[in-house]
Assembly symmetry: C2
Homo-oligomer: 165 residues x 2
């Protein structure tokens, strides 16, 4: 029973950490706005993160991830208090799918930032270093959250193995 | 024993399918070359897939995935013949990590293609529809391979549960 509670608390700490990472990542990407210089295509208004579809996907993955981690946090707290194992299959598939959602979000964010910076610099369009830096920061935090969720996914796979064996 | 062999054969078929998908994806992305119209920045030579860093990452993930799936194919064939279970932990972590590698490759490919097409069209730079279509096709096949690898990863998680229970 003590072992069960300990693994629940590790789960809890990791999920709180994921939640904090996703929250900072969300704030960073949502506040990412700049002015494009060197072209009149984007001159009428600010160049915002919404102008890049990959960032919209990244935002979606962060929002879905945050909602899921909050749900899982509630379940984990309940399980710690009730000293129950919870729904192991829900954890298993949930963590697995969520880690893919976060991984693809981070990958599309990194991919598009890197190439946009390179191609725009070649074309003499300047968005300012802050825009790229904030995008990278947001994607990096999302990547860290992905790694934590992948670790949680390994835990929830092992949790399927009956304790009596 | 019959049940063990059957699950091995399902594994084998899925891995052969992943190998074929990765191979076609590899050929599509490697042969993706076009000429940029509307700008003189890329005019000196062809616009190749190597000019986009996200495609290079995609290529790396395909190559790593192909090498891994070939290794796993050899192991699975050996296990079917020897009627052994193989190294369950290697399968578990291998499939898990590989599915993340393929998922991030596909996501960066999709993300960059979508936004490059949109931004380049806005800037009146035309790479030709074939270039984008081939990139999408390659990323789609990679995504399908990711889904298959994720299913294999679920199988190899379940394989950790002792059969006697």
């Amino acid at each position: 029973m003590a072992k069960l509670a300990a693994s629940c608390i590790v789960n809890l700490v990791l999920r709180v950490f994921v939640f904090v990472l996703l929250l900072i990542s969300l704030i960073l990407i949502c506040t990412n706005t700049t002015t494009a210089k060197g072209t009149d295509v984007f001159a009428e208004q600010d160049f915002r993160f919404q102008d890049v579809i990959a960032y919209r996907y990244m935002l979606s993955s962060i929002v879905i991830g945050t909602a899921f981690v909050l749900l899982q946090l509630a379940f984990t707290i309940y399980n710690v208090i009730a000293k129950s194992e919870g729904n192991l299959l829900f954890d298993f598939y949930g963590d697995k799918i969520m880690s893919y959602v976060l991984a693809t979000g981070a990958a599309s964010g990194f991919g598009v930032t890197n190439d946009m910076q390179m191609l725009f610099n070649k074309l003499n369009i300047f968005l300012g270093d802050d825009f790229y830096a904030k995008s990278y920061a947001s994607a990096s935090l999302l990547l860290l959250a992905t790694v934590c969720t992948a670790v949680l996914s390994v835990f929830s796979s092992y949790a399927l193995i009956p304790k009596t064996v």
